[in-house]
Symmetry: C2
Subunit: 119 residues, 2 copies
């Protein structure tokens, strides 16, 4: 659907924000499937159809350097009897990108506040 140069899609912002929220916590890493669950539960039944949409979004973010990933130690996955996970973390670049989006989104809000104060 033809992307505006350098812009972030809402799904991408969502991923980064959720990932940044994790940075405050203990592990700071997440994996695709858990993120899919998060989005499905919160954003009122967003389908992500078979998760294809999400995994592609994750890939895009990694290619752009906003996320970095590593494969979980396969021994751990085997011990827990589940498929192995690809662990993602938000990079400094990723944090900056979200910060930029948040700030530009606040501009109209500030304008509104000023407007209310004046009336």
């Amino acid at each position: 659907m033809r992307r505006k140069a350098g812009a972030l899609l809402s799904i991408e912002i969502g991923i980064l924000q959720a990932g940044i929220a994790l940075l405050r916590g203990s592990d700071a890493e997440f994996h695709g499937y858990a993120m899919a669950r998060e989005i499905r539960d919160q954003e009122g039944a967003r389908s992500l159809t078979a998760h294809g949409t999400l995994y592609r979004a994750l890939e895009r973010l990694e290619v752009r350097g906003l996320l970095a990933s590593r494969w979980e130690d396969p021994e751990i996955a085997a011990a827990e009897e589940r498929p192995r996970r690809r662990m993602y973390r938000v990079t400094a670049e990723g944090e900056a990108a979200v910060q930029a989006v948040a700030e530009s989104a606040q501009e109209p809000a500030k304008a509104l506040k000023r407007g209310l104060a004046a009336s």
Copy 2:
């Protein structure tokens, strides 16, 4: 569907026979998913519904000692970028069980042959 004491179901016989055929080959081991493909291709679109039927049959055969399994080294699965496999092989007991079934199945055939020869 209430099993006759000690009897083998046709799906179980099929698994064991296919497994025994492999014994002549190089690896002698198989995994559930490959077996499912085999059965699907050969037995004219047997569904095995999401493979649930097959995996339970494999489990039954293992519990009865006719199959033995081991988990594939998770590093290999990771290197090949796929979920890990559970590798099965037919035990001596398994071979004997199939042998017994095959022999009892030949009885009627022999009787028929005798009958034909006499006419």
